[in-house]
């Protein structure tokens, strides 16, 4: 147990430190690199609570795809972050004041609520004990069997998003020269290559 506790504190401390570095680092590339480190530590925390599938997904999807995409975007776009910070500093005072007032209000409201003690076990889809079912299977059961309707519905939403992006941005421009591979392959050398006998000294 001691090792697990130690691991937890190491992962958690690095995670929080990385989170702070992501927003404070001056160089945006460094920010993204700290973000990747943060993802790895979060994955470690998932492993500690026995959610190995989520840990793998976090590494594969977020580190492998999302963070690398961020890195590309940051490197390709020439954004001057110093100028963006200038504006942020100007509004920081007012923003913080509003944030604190809002936080105090929410605490006052939520602090008076009392949760029903019997509620914690009343979830609609309580997770089975880890010993009964490994969590890849538990998630699969939930997503593809119990909530298959929602899964398919979400798929239709993504289809609309894709269609919308194409409809609103794809343009057939006039006068653009495109490579048409089928035409290129279909051309035969008989039509295109001509043998010309050039007598010396006279030119074509």
């Amino acid at each position: 147990m001691a090792i697990a506790t130690l691991c937890f504190y190491v992962f958690a401390a690095i995670l929080v430190a990385c989170g702070a570095m992501v927003i404070t680092a001056r160089n945006p590339v460094h920010s993204v690199l700290f973000l990747i480190l943060a993802f790895f530590n979060a994955a470690g925390l998932f492993v500690l609570i026995g959610a190995e599938f989520l840990a793998m997904i976090l590494v594969v999807v977020y580190v492998g795809a999302v963070a690398v995409l961020f890195l590309f975007v940051v490197m390709m776009l020439d954004i001057n972050f110093r100028d963006m910070r200038k504006g942020a500093k100007r509004y920081a005072g007012v923003g913080a004041a509003i944030g604190i007032v809002l936080l105090a209000e929410i605490l006052l409201v939520v602090g008076t609520w009392q949760l029903d003690p019997g509620l914690s076990g009343a979830g609609a889809a309580p997770t089975p004990a880890i010993a009964d079912m490994h969590n890849t299977r538990a998630l699969g059961n939930l997503i593809y069997t119990e909530y298959v309707y929602l899964f398919q519905g979400a798929g239709m939403v993504l289809l609309v998003a894709m269609m919308g992006a194409i409809v609103l941005t794809l343009r057939q421009r006039e006068g653009v020269k495109r490579q048409r591979i089928a035409d290129q392959v279909a051309r035969s050398s008989k039509d295109e290559v001509r043998k010309v006998n050039v007598s010396s000294g006279s030119g074509i």
């Binding site: 519905g153 269609m163 919308g164 609103l168």
Partner: protein, 482 residues
């Protein structure tokens, strides 16, 4: 091994989802100049088949997909209205989209996808299913609003709708999460059972309901969440506006009814004052803000805000009679709005669309038939007997009186008197002003037929009110029993 979930009751939705993907394939592989007419015709056919499947499925209370999906008489009634709205929207857009540079086959496909989302909304029996249906519908609508992507106003409308829609979805989700937190489940039946046992309703649940209602009120464009409506209605291409004014409103109203009368039906006392305020404010704003409008599409936007207010009277009453009133009101609203928009789509001078009310001047002399039809629709919207619109108002007002909501009924009656001013002003412009430039002839047979049929239905409703009223009453009973 786990068994496959029950899917039978969702057959129309499954059919529509698969057919939509087929339509996309057809659109891509057919020659570009033939794609739009072909896909439009197929989309209408697909929607009609889906409608037939819904009607054939009958209205027995059935659950599917592990209680996420419900079919009852109420769902069948609302779904048929939604399908009618979508089919008419595709028919109406035929001439416009070819002329105004939005002739892409994706338009009918997006309408079908939006319709699928609306059917899912109407049948939602769970907070997550509600949200997925709502997003599918909204996302398709955002895209169709900005489909004229080279026109500034259309893209502006789409962007505004998107940003405000995202905000309202956020509020709705926050409300749903609070309700889940206090109810322990997202399924409507279980929620109703859980809240039924409680002696007093926790504050958190009421907060959740408020956020949920705010999100849904945005979708039906009720005051104070109506700000987007006039801009979006004015900026979006006219056939899209016609679609916005009808089908999504009906679906969102169905959703609001199902949520409020289902899981929260036992605590009408807690939320009725919210609906009361939203209803009264919508009626008053719809009546007064429309008066200075000169653009007919903006006028229709305020008019639709007012109509939502009248329909919500039935929900504030919270009785079976009130629900019946809403169903009748929405059905009549569909017919008269479709008719009016068919007339607006025919407002065209020398191939150019016009949208000002002053352009209608002297229409009675230049095009008497169209003027007569518009006269019928305007009288009906104003609620002047014997037009259908009068009966819509009659049913909801009667429900309000029987539920002892006298103040609300009086506000409604006064607001409808005020709103009669701007409806009748259009009639005055058409019949008594000096003729402006004559409109071009109505361009498609579909538009002519829609104007004619809608006019006849609005006029003849007085002879056969029971056709609609009986079905609506049965649907209302099934909603309250479910």
């Amino acid at each position: 091994m786990s068994e496959l979930p029950i899917m039978g009751p969702a057959l129309p939705e499954i059919f529509l989802a698969i057919a939509v993907m087929g339509l996309m394939m057809v659109g891509v592989f057919v020659k570009p100049d033939r794609a739009l007419p072909l896909v439009s015709a197929l989309a209408i056919a697909v929607l009609l088949v889906a409608g037939a499947l819904i009607a054939a499925g009958g209205g027995g209370y059935q659950l599917a997909f592990g209680d996420l999906f419900v079919v009852d008489r109420f769902a069948v009634f609302m779904k048929l209205l939604v399908i009618a709205g979508s089919v008419l929207a595709i028919i109406m857009s035929e001439g416009f989209i070819r002329r105004e540079g939005m002739d892409r086959f994706e338009y009918p496909v997006l309408i079908c996808l939006a319709t699928l989302g609306m059917l899912m909304m109407v049948s939602a029996n769970d907070l997550i299913a509600l949200y997925i249906g709502l997003e599918l519908q909204s996302l398709s609508l955002y895209v169709t609003a900005s489909l004229q992507r080279d026109r500034l106003r259309s893209t502006e409308a789409g962007l505004k709708y998107f940003v405000l829609g995202a905000l309202s979805s956020g509020m709705l989700l926050y409300g749903a999460s609070l309700i889940y937190g206090f109810g322990g489940t997202t399924e409507f039946g279980a929620l109703a059972a859980h809240f039924g046992e409680l002696e007093s309703v926790p504050v958190g649940v009421i907060t959740g309901i408020v956020f949920l209602v705010a999100g849904l009120a945005f979708k039906v464009s009720a005051v104070p969440f109506h700000m987007w409506t006039p801009d979006v209605y004015e900026g979006a291409p006219t056939p899209v506006t016609a679609f916005f004014a009808v089908a999504p409103k009906i679906a969102a109203m169905a959703l609001l009814l199902r949520v409020m009368m289902g899981p929260f039906g036992g605590m009408v006392g807690e939320w009725f004052q919210i609906i009361w305020f939203v209803s009264a404010a919508s009626m008053v704003l719809g009546a007064f803000a429309a008066i200075p409008q000169t653009n007919i599409k903006r006028l229709m936007a305020y008019s639709s805000i007012g109509h939502v207010g009248y329909a919500l009277i039935g929900l504030a009453a919270g009785t079976e009679e009130g629900v019946t009133g809403i169903l009748i009101y929405m059905a009549i609203y569909l017919v008269m709005n479709v008719g009016t928009f068919a007339c607006i789509l025919s407002m065209k001078v020398k191939g150019r669309m016009v949208e000002q009310i002053s352009d209608l001047a002297g229409l009675a002399k230049t095009k008497p038939a169209m003027a007569a039809a518009l006269l019928i629709f305007m009288f009906s919207m104003a609620g002047i007997p014997p037009m259908a619109g009068f009966f819509g108002k009659l049913y909801v007002f009667r429900a309000a009186i029987n539920a002892e909501l006298y103040t609300l009924a009086v506000i409604g009656a006064l607001a409808s008197v005020v709103s009669a001013f701007y409806y009748l002003r259009i009639v005055k412009v058409m019949y008594f002003d000096e003729p402006a430039e004559a409109f071009d002839p109505v361009e498609t047979r579909g538009l002519k037929a829609i104007i004619g049929v809608a006019g006849v239905i609005v006029l003849a409703f007085i002879f056969y009110p029971s056709l609609l009223a009986d079905n609506a009453a049965v649907a209302a009973v099934s909603l309250l029993q479910g």
